[in-house]
Amino acid sequence: MTGSILVGGIGDADLLQAASVAAGIAEAGGASLRAVTISEQGTGSAAVVDGMVDVALVFEAGAEGLVSGAALADGLELAARELSPNLVILGDHPACREAAARLALRLSAGCVSMCERIQPAGEDGFRVERAAYGGVANAIFTVPGRAVCVLAATASAEGAGEAQGRATEVQVRALTGGARSIRKLSEEAVPPSVDLAGARVVVSVGRGFVKAEDIRLAEDLRSLLDAELGCSRPIAEDFKWLPQERLVGLTGTSVSSDLYLALGISGQVQHLAGIKGARVVAAVNIDPKSPIVRNADYTVIGDLYKVVPALAAALEARRNGG
């Protein structure tokens, strides 16, 4: 693609994600790449895009700048008016979604969020693909002219998407104008205690379990498989038997594991949206008509209260050379 791409993010992860996807699109064609990010003070997340973009613009916006997308929107608007990019790509972050909405309105640009794939379409603008109706289908859009795209959590670069040896110039600027009326009162780091997205094996529990204590049945399996524990939406949101961090699905985490074991999970669309990236899906369910059956590679039809211990025993036997 020729022309220019503006990339935006508020933190390391979303900025890097946006830059990677942009680098993949810019690859053949030599589009110029510029990044915009916000810092409280100093260069903020600029370091993560070193080598990937031609210019990294960091707008210093004080403590408030990182708490909403307002400052990011202002910074992107300034950069967009200077650069006139064909395409603006923002990473997966709530502040990026806010910034995208504000920016698209200010620039009168088309805007699509939750983007899985973005392709230049020559004179037609851009072809963008994303999940629709909670993952029931994928929708493909054309955005004529300038596009503002926010990436889905699962979007990643196609092709290399790594540092391409560009000489990155970092510019730090103050963000002037526009009263920053949101005030930050306090902050508490919440380090993730669960890494579902990066787990090689995930054992996941659903409503087939009758009581909270019964989830312990899955514990043997989990430890034999050295797996992370996940769950479906009723378990995390309705019953609160497990914390939200363990939720797999559209509003939770998407897995990219080698194996996803769904125990007593019926396979609602929102849950399936989170397991698309699993290489092999196996399930245990009492109901052969459950949607999980056609959305899994292997389903054992049976009572999980009997099958789960049997599975653990089989895995144990295998481990002990049986």
């Binding site: 979303d14 708490v67 909403s68 972050h93 709530p94 806010e98 909405a101 504000r102 698209a104 309105l105 088309g110 805007c111 699509v112 939750m114 999940a131 629709a132 109706y133 909670g134 993952g135 029931v136 289908a137 929708a139 493909i140 859009f141 955005v143 004529p144 009326s181 949101i182 005030r183 930050k184 306090s186 902050e187 508490e188 919440v190 498989l225 050295d226 939200q244 559209l250 609602q268 669309v269 949206a273 290489r279 092999v280 059956v293 056609r294 959305n295 590679d297 292997y298 389903t299 054992v300 039809i301 049976g302 009997k306 099958v307 211990p309 049997a310 599975l311 025993a313 089989a314 295998r318």
Partner: protein, 261 residues
């Protein structure tokens, strides 16, 4: 303190199907309801009303006569009044159109101190309408909100951002996007919903709001070309039999797949 909750009337996402033969999304016959995330916004509004003096809660919904029931349900949750903007379009990917319509309605109803929205809509799942609304109303936007409280002249909110929990405040008027984990929405009984008098609903026509032209145009400048299957092709092998032999067979298959270490 005047709070308006924008609640979307949607087709029940668990009933929507995709036809792989025709590449069509089948919405016909899917029952309709209040979008789940907007229930959290309604609950947040009603809780603020219960915890503070002099707070009114009104609900704004877009839809035809079929949305009346959903709007009554929203009112039965504890709102004082509801507005039904006669709708008539279904472009889930155009949250900007929704934002333009809601803005015009709020200006008509106004002035308003606080607008609450669900963080996402259950059908579109764009996560953009709330921020677009804030931009058009020229107010700050706080999201994703997990709890909120009314202070002297400000809204104080706890925001659940990736890796960090922040409390922030915003002057009024402002828009807040409520997270699904913020609360457990109360469920009004069928009787409570039935008891909501139609007189508590005011209908706003697109014509009265001067929006008929706006709705014709694409506010988002985005064209939906087609749908494609989102499903991943799986083997769909079914293993039956007694637990022990079924378990053994599954382990065998997983060994073949090379996913067991």
């Amino acid at each position: 303190m005047r709070i308006i909750v924008c609640a979307k009337h949607v087709a029940d996402s668990t009933e929507i199907r995709f036809d792989e033969q025709t590449n069509q999304v089948l919405l016909e016959g899917a029952p309709t309801k209040i979008s789940d995330y907007d229930r959290n916004a309604l609950e947040a509004a009603v809780q603020l009303r219960e915890q503070n003096e002099g707070v009114s809660v009104e609900v704004l919904m877009v839809g035809g006569s079929e949305a009346q029931k959903a709007l009554k349900e929203a009112i039965a949750m504890g709102a004082d009044k509801g507005y039904l903007i006669e709708g008539g379009w279904d472009r889930f990917y155009d949250p900007f159109l929704a934002a333009r319509v809601l803005t015009r309605a709020i200006e008509d109803i106004g002035p308003v101190d606080l607008v609450l929205v669900g963080l996402y809509s259950e059908d579109g799942y764009n996560g953009l309408a709330g921020a677009a609304l804030a931009e058009l109303l020229d107010t700050p936007f706080l999201a994703p909100v997990t709890s909120l409280a009314l202070a002297e002249d400000t809204l104080e909110a706890e925001l659940s951002l990736p890796g960090v929990r922040v409390t922030a405040s915003s002057p009024f008027p402002c828009v807040a996007g409520i997270d699904s984990t913020a609360n457990v929405p109360r469920l009004p009984t069928v009787l409570q919903v039935m008891k909501v008098k139609s007189s508590r609903i005011q209908t706003l026509s697109l014509q009265d709001l001067g929006l008929t032209q706006t709705v014709q145009q694409k506010a988002n400048g985005v064209r939906l070309d087609e749908y494609a299957s989102g499903a991943v092709k799986r083997k769909a092998v079914v293993i039956e039999g007694d637990p022990e032999s079924a378990a053994g067979r599954l382990v065998g298959e997983l060994v073949q797949e090379g996913v067991l270490q």
